[in-house]
């Protein structure tokens, strides 16, 4: 009797239970069912682009903007978020959080791009689609490596999706090899990407963007002729890039994706409503940067300020009508007659850091505050590369080859828009470089270029020590030209070595 019962119970249950243990995740699909059609690849691309605007890890999220600008002689970051204060005052260590986040964000983009590149080879999609998605992913991958190269130098080069645990732990490659990877990817992207997209796909990487970044990569490697050749392509058909007549338009949401835009990060309040929700449906699809930079009088968090070094640079040259450079008005606000800021006279704002100005560029300063949606997010697209930047890089590539006269025209295009007098065609190479340096500083303020330009030009130590930047006394060029490999990477990756100087 006992036996029968046991046997019948067990057989009953066995029959019932094999299936019971097959439980599938009701929340997500799996790798087994993905990568089957164009829609899958398109959504994978969205998930790869999006990392650029991630609030903590994105290069154009608030922390990214603070990291790229924070170490320049033009920027001050207040003592609130310790990691930012440390990196901006050159007292950062490998444990400082923000560089670690940016490092992680870059590799998140790379991991995702690698998935697209690998899966496109085998997926049942058209050859045309394969080429498009691969090229687009290569562009994103190269851009992430570009950020790694200029910030960290020697980093691991990962171009495949790991299939085994042992592949999680990659050693660093020398910076030169990282640049080879960048140039190779941008070159491939240049070949595979279209010149433009339908209206509904505006914002994805174009051939022009790949060319611009390829030129920029050459410029950072002082391959002037190669750089010139790339930038030159963007000066004429089929490309239609031009400067926006009004400089300030570039930093208003209604002029997103304008004719001056080579590549920009798409931001809009169309997703979730929580800036810090993480990667899910609640994640807000704008950035909190404007809220973080806004003054306390409008409930902003006043994390940054332009230095007076920057202020003086803006004041250097007046327009042909004797006014301040329109880029000065568009970039900062100070106590000039009639100055308005967030619909209040500027006089009502208190300058708390001892500097004379506040930041206007990329702020929604025409509103009453930075919370019109109630959730701190700004919809002004971050301009990753503007045509003005291309013009100045083009001019630099020419000048560095001694083609100073040829460089005059692109510099003058930038000066004309700012209502400055035309440059004479008599500048020496040094004079022209000095002009380009000055123009880059004021044209591209807060766009994340200053520190890296100074590094290219070998002027980091000189300019930082000569500025009024807080923490300049701690700047050590051997150490601070690059960030250290983050402690979180060292803690988890036995094959990686710390950068020299750290």
């Amino acid at each position: 009797m006992k036996k029968y019962i046991i046997i019948s119970l067990i057989t009953l249950s066995l029959a019932g239970c094999k299936k019971e243990l097959e439980v599938v995740n009701p929340n997500v699909i799996t790798t087994e069912t993905f990568w089957k059609n164009d829609a899958d690849f398109q959504s994978a691309l969205a998930a790869t682009y999006k990392v650029f605007r991630d609030v903590n890890n994105g290069y154009w999220g608030v922390r990214g903007v603070e990291l790229t600008n924070g170490r320049g002689d033009d920027f001050f970051i207040r003592n609130d978020v310790q990691a930012l204060y440390q990196l901006s005052t050159f007292t950062n260590t490998p444990s400082t959080g923000t560089p670690s986040s940016i490092f992680q964000g870059a590799y998140t983009g790379i991991f995702r791009a690698n998935q697209i590149i690998e899966n496109a080879q085998t997926a049942p999609i058209s050859e045309e689609s394969k080429k498009q998605y691969t090229a687009e992913a290569q562009f994103i991958r190269a851009l992430n490596y570009f950020h790694l190269a200029i910030n960290f130098g020697n980093v691991p080069i990962i171009t495949t999706v790991p299939t085994d645990k042992s592949q999680y732990f990659q050693p660093s490659s020398p910076e030169a090899q990282v640049w080879q990877q960048i140039i190779s990817d941008f070159t491939a992207a240049k070949e595979g990407l279209p010149e433009s997209y339908d209206e509904k796909w505006v914002g994805r990487a174009t051939k022009g963007a790949a060319i611009g970044y390829l030129g920029k990569a050459y410029l950072y490697n002082e391959r002037w002729a190669d750089a010139e050749n790339e930038f030159k392509l963007l000066m004429s058909a089929p490309f239609q890039y031009d400067l926006r007549p009004n400089f300030a338009d570039n930093f208003r949401p209604e002029f997103d994706n304008n004719e001056e835009s080579v590549f920009e990060i798409q931001l809009q309040n169309v997703g979730g409503v929580q800036p810090w929700a993480g990667e899910n449906a609640n994640e807000a699809l704008g950035v909190t940067t404007a809220q973080e930079f806004a003054p306390t009088e409008v409930a902003g968090w006043f994390e940054v300020s332009p230095t007076d070094t920057m202020f003086v640079e803006f004041e250097k040259e007046k327009t042909i009508t004797g006014d301040y450079d329109p880029r000065m008005y568009a970039s900062i606000v100070w106590d000039y007659p009639g100055a308005m800021y967030y619909n209040r006279p500027f006089k009502e704002f208190k300058l708390v850091f001892g500097y004379q100005s506040m930041i206007r560029k990329y702020q929604n300063w025409w509103n009453d505050n930075e919370q019109p949606n109630g959730n701190y997010i700004s919809e002004i697209n971050e301009k990753a590369m503007r045509f003005a930047d291309v013009l100045l890089m083009y001019a630099e590539a020419l000048t560095m080859q001694g083609k100073v006269v040829e460089a005059t025209a692109p510099v003058n295009r930038v000066r004309d828009r700012a209502n400055l007098a035309e440059l004479p065609a008599t500048y020496s190479q040094d004079e022209m470089m000095a002009e380009i340096r000055h123009q880059r500083m004021i044209e591209l303020f807060r766009e994340g270029h200053r520190f890296y330009d100074l590094k290219r030009w070998g002027l980091l130590e000189q300019e930082i020590k000569n500025s009024d930047k807080v923490g300049r006394e701690f700047f050590d060029p051997a150490r601070h030209a690059y960030f250290p490999i983050p402690q979180n990477e060292l803690n988890t990756n036995p094959n990686i070595e710390q950068n020299p100087g750290w």
């Binding site: 006992k2 019962i5 046991i6 067990i10 249950s13 239970c17 019971e20 243990l21 097959e22 439980v23 599938v24 995740n25 009701p26 929340n27 699909i29 799996t30 993905f34 994978a44 969205a46 998930a47 999006k50 003592n79 609130d80 310790q82 007292t91 260590t93 444990s95 992680q104 590799y107 998140t108 983009g109 991991f111 990962i158 042992s166 999680y168 732990f169 209206e199 509904k200 505006v202 914002g203 798409q266 809009q268 169309v270 409503v273 990667e279 449906a281 609640n282 699809l285 409930a299 708390v352 001892g354 949606n373 109630g374 959730n375 983050p486 402690q487 979180n488 990477e489 803690n491 988890t492």
Partner: protein, 1018 residues
């Protein structure tokens, strides 16, 4: 239940019966206890082998040679009685229940065993020991009472959970034991009313726990609720009321002191002083933020129960209400309980159930407001005392911080403006039908069901608090979730005794399904104080998710004993879990335990006068652990990784693989060896249970932190390591009775050595415990060291002058180039000429060398006293709050100790104040590591029982009043709120790697409680 148990014991005693010889005198009688018959009592003529045992009605009949001898009556769980015959032919005896541990009955999985025949390691706590001490959860009252079980209470938050570690940290995942209440698995036992509990049995070693197989690797806590007994209804009423107050506040600066330190710090850095600190003398005391948030808080409890039974049934019904206000303003907890347990017998069939309904409500402490103060307790220490609490003109009514200071929120505003409420309704039901198929063979079908309905509600009123915190729209978020366990079990139990052999066999099959589903929504902009989602206008969000897992189990147990001398218990369990891939789904978990009751051997007789009882035990077994997240063996493609696209900037829905998955995930295994001895001295007045164990957990399921360079944003679960815990546990108790005075002393001692044998790829390290809002981690977990070992840069005093700074160099290069006199000298441990994270060295670990508890109960006439101490020794704590408050690098308030900061005129051992801290004096270092040893007077209770004579007139059976105190004092050198950290995060790996790190910004200080209570029985 009790009856079944008695039958079982009666059977087990048959083997001791023997044959009578001569026919001189026949003695008859009945053995009872509290007027109830006891079957199976062993009756022996002293000094002979002549004996018998009582029948089902407690009657016995024994023939002895003459009328001069003495009869000995023994029965497990009762004090033996010796009665001289004195030529009587009728001898009725009343036995007294013996609460000594050595002769008790313990609950093991799917049944009970007598302590005598038990060979596994099981700790038992009876109801009397749990007599509520004003603590709101059962686990807190267990602290220090069970050897080998470490209970860490996370402070005084009303209705909060605790961390229970049975025999050390064995897993990187969930270290919670398995909780079984009346046969049903539950996720936690916080919601039970302590007075509903009859016993708690903690299965510690593999032999005891293996019947629960895969879920038992962290130990098993079996809770049995009270059952009725046959007889007239008994009505119990318990009530108490008490007051709680905060045991400790942190010493911080007042307004003018803060301004002085702040100015010194800015001056030293060459940076302008803060405007608000300009005139220190004029600022006075300022706001004492800590006094603003704490209160003396009442607590109260009422419980009413009725129990009883008839010939074929028993019942126990109880209900209770518990209410506790928090010592932090606006926080509170209350609980309603209703419980029914009955069983009915008809012929061969017995049907019974246990149903527990609870409703719990929490008003939690508000969280951080995105600033850097943390929760209100954290903010209260960091908020600059210059700022005001209230501002009648501001939206919301509160003032707050403004200007270039760190955004620390006004803690009072946090408490009042944010209302985070949680409700939980729990249904726990177990229904069984037991059929006696043939004699000694029982089939039981058991359905267990628990359902927890959770509801979270957080409303934030519109506010403008100072300049830094603004929330112009009211916010409301609500979520509901449902967790259910559904368990079906079939068991066959067979008990048989013949001669001196005694068998117990059990076979069973179980299927358990766990499901979870949640739904949430939030909106902002409800006008006019409305607090429903439909009234909201902006920030509309919703979400939900579901999870499910299934566990299928086959299990069996075989218990054999011979003559109460040789004992054997074997368990086997085979579990299949949906959490693993097809190839690794099933795990087999066997165990074997052997025991030897030396004191029952004939040759032992000469030793009995020294050691009255001696049993040796040894066990070996394998257990499993599958307590990690569902669906981890297959990589997923999460959706909603969204971006924006198009000329008109539309939502672009994204999806991609975010993380890696290991398809070869398999069971985490726990192999354990236990040797132990149960000893009794002085006629078992003194008892000692001693155990030594080795618990080796291998193939640990671990979310391995991957290099950032993999680009994975979620760490994958892999089998990646091995941890061994070795330990000694002692439990001691002594009972003595002298006339009107009786007392019991108890003590427990636990020493556990924890070591990671292997981790990940070999050199894998897991960093944990970032002690402050920003900054580096304090612990490393790696092979060769305990989990969560502190690795910190060592400090070596203060540089008193520039010569000392210069002297601290390597090959002519300064080791600390940014240092100035007054800064800390750090130890360049790896001798590479710079101070970096590579200079971290092992400076201790969060595990105590030993933990202990001791106390006593005493009774003199109608008065009783109980006192209990508990503590740990040798553990370290990283004081994260002190790192914040003594850093002087950020613009918030500082600790009192900063007044003693180094200056050239006053060269102290406390580093100088300098706001930009170029030398990183405030970095994570051994400067903030402290001893965590403590001794706490956990409870003190004095009671008075009213005389029976008085009560009989008003028909009251018993009545006791008492005065009790919890946490009267703690002796410790630790500077934080409470050395007993136990930050509990609901059964996740969170908190295992930072177990010894005190996160000041999320804590809730401990409360001291005084209470007055009444216990009444009719």
């Amino acid at each position: 239940m009790k009856k079944r148990l008695q039958i079982l014991l009666w059977i087990s005693c048959l083997c001791i019966t023997s044959v009578a010889y001569a026919q001189n005198l026949t003695i008859k009688g009945r053995v009872t206890s509290e007027n109830e018959a006891i079957p199976g009592v062993n009756v022996v003529l002293k000094g002979t082998t002549t004996g018998t045992s009582t029948d089902m009605d407690g009657n016995y009949s024994l023939t002895v040679p003459d009328g001069n001898g003495t009869l000995i009556f023994t029965y497990i769980g009762y004090t033996p009685e010796e009665v001289p015959i004195n030529n009587r032919t009728t001898l009725d005896v009343s036995l007294v229940q013996d609460i000594q541990t050595l002769s008790e009955v313990v609950v093991v999985g799917y049944g009970t065993q007598s302590r005598q025949s038990l060979v596994g390691s099981v700790a038992s706590i009876k109801a009397e020991e749990l007599r509520t001490q004003g603590v709101n959860t059962i686990q807190k009252s267990l602290q220090g009472r069970v050897a080998g079980v470490n209970i860490e209470s996370s402070g005084g938050s009303p209705g909060s959970g605790v961390r229970i570690l049975v025999r050390g940290t064995g897993s990187f995942n969930n270290n919670d034991p398995l909780y079984i209440v009346d046969g049903v698995q539950v996720t936690n036992i916080n919601n039970l009313s302590p007075s509903d509990i009859a016993s708690i049995d903690i299965l510690k070693d593999a032999s005891a726990a293996a019947i629960y197989g895969s879920r038992a690797a962290n130990g098993v806590v079996l809770i049995t609720t009270k059952t009725g007994t046959k007889g007239e209804p008994r009505i119990d009423f318990n009530v108490y009321a008490g007051l709680q107050s905060v045991t400790k506040k942190i010493d911080v600066l007042n307004a003018s002191e803060w301004a002085r330190v702040s100015n010194a710090a800015h001056d030293a850095a060459g940076l302008p002083r803060l405007d608000i600190a300009q005139n220190p003398e004029s600022l006075g005391e300022g706001t004492d933020w800590q006094s603003e948030i704490y209160q003396v808080a009442p607590t109260q409890s009422y419980e009413l129960g009725v129990s009883g039974g008839g010939d074929n049934f028993t019942y126990s019904l109880s209900g209770g209400y518990f209410d506790q206000n928090g010592i932090v303003r606006k926080t509170d907890y209350n609980r309603l309980n209703l419980r029914l347990k009955t069983d009915f017998t008809k012929g061969r069939l017995k049907i019974g159930e246990s149903v527990i309904l609870t409703r719990e409500n929490w008003r939690n402490m508000a969280g951080g407001w995105g600033g850097q103060g943390g929760n209100p307790v954290g903010s209260a220490t960091k908020m600059i005392p210059v700022f005001q609490v209230y501002d009648a003109n501001a939206l919301g009514g509160f003032s707050g911080a403004s200007g270039p200071v760190v955004n620390v929120a006004n803690p009072v505003a946090q408490l009042y403006l944010e209302d985070p409420t949680v409700n939980t309704n729990t249904v726990m039901a177990n229904i069984f039908a037991e059929l006696t198929l043939i004699d000694n063979l029982k089939y039981k079908y058991n359905v267990g069901y628990t359902n927890t309905f959770g509801y979270n509600y957080t409303y934030t009123a519109p506010y403008q608090v100072g300049a830094l915190f603004q929330n112009l729209n009211s916010d409301l978020s609500e979520s509901r979730n449902q967790t259910s366990f559904f368990l079906q079990e079939h068991t066959l139990a067979y008990d048989k005794a013949f001669g001196r052999h005694n068998f117990q066999a059990l076979a069973g099959f179980g299927l358990q399904k766990n499901t979870f589903r949640s739904l949430n929504g939030s909106r902002s902009g409800m006008p006019g104080g409305l607090q429903v989602l439909d009234a909201g206008t902006t920030n509309i969000a919703s979400g939900g998710l579901a999870r499910e897992n299934v566990l299928e189990s086959y299990f069996g147990r075989f218990v054999y004993s011979y003559d109460q001398r040789y004992l054997l218990t074997a368990n086997f369990r085979r579990d299949g879990s949906s959490r693993f891939g097809r190839a690794y789904r099933y795990g087999n978990f066997p165990s074997l335990a052997l025991g030897w009751n030396l004191s029952n051997e004939a040759f032992y007789e000469p030793f009995r006068s020294y050691v009255s009882q001696l049993k040796l035990r040894a066990s070996y077994g394998l257990l499993g652990n599958q307590e990690f997240d569902d669906y981890q063996y297959v990589a997923s493609i999460p959706g909603n990784l969204n971006y924006v696209i198009g000329r008109d900037q539309q939502l672009w829905v994204g999806a991609i693989q975010q993380a890696f998955a290991d398809p070869n995930l398999k069971w985490e295994e726990s192999e354990s060896i236990n040797v132990g001895a149960d000893l009794g001295f002085f006629n078992n007045r003194l008892s000692l249970i001693a155990d030594y164990f080795i618990r080796k957990n291998s193939d640990l399921l671990l979310r391995v932190p991957l290099p950032l360079s993999t680009g994975s944003t979620v760490n994958p679960v892999v089998n990646a390591g091995q941890i061994t815990n070795r330990g000694v546990e002692l439990a001691l108790s002594y009972n003595q009775e002298i006339n009107d005075f009786s007392y019991q002393l108890t003590g427990t001692f636990t020493a556990i050595r924890n070591k990671v044998d292997q981790l990940g790829s070999g050199s894998q390290q897991i960093s944990g415990g970032q002690p402050t809002h920003h900054g580096s981690s304090a612990t490393i977990t790696m092979a060769g060291q305990p989990v969560g070992t502190f690795y910190l840069i060592k400090t070596d005093g203060i540089f008193n002058d520039t010569d000392e700074v210069t002297a601290h160099s390597k090959e002519g290069k300064l080791i600390q180039p940014n240092a100035q006199p007054g800064d800390i000298r750090f130890v360049d441990a790896n001798n590479d000429g710079i101070i970096s994270e590579d200079d971290r060295v092992n400076v201790g670990n969060p595990n105590p060398d030993f933990s202990y508890g001791f106390g006593g109960n005493a009774r003199w006439r109608d008065f009783d006293l109980s006192v209990f101490f508990q503590g740990t020794h040798g553990n370290k704590i990283y004081n994260g709050l002190r790192q914040d408050l003594e850093g002087m690098t950020l613009e918030f308030n500082y600790g009192k100790s900063t007044l003693n900061a180094w200056t050239p005129e006053n060269p102290t051992d406390f580093p100088r104040a300098v706001i930009n801290d170029p030398n990183y004096n405030s970095r994570t270092s051994d400067r903030f590591l402290e001893s965590g040893s403590y001794l706490r007077l956990r409870t003190l209770q004095v009671g008075y029982t009213l005389p029976k004579a008085l009560l009989e007139r008003v028909k009251i059976t018993s009545c006791r009043v008492y005065l009790g105190f919890d946490n009267l004092f703690t002796l410790t050198k630790y500077n934080g709120y409470n050395p007993d950290l136990g930050r509990y995060s609901g059964g996740t790996s969170q908190g295992i790697f930072d177990r010894g790190v005190d996160f000041g910004h999320v804590s809730y200080p401990l409360a001291r409680t005084s209470m007055l209570g009444l216990q009444l029985s009719l």
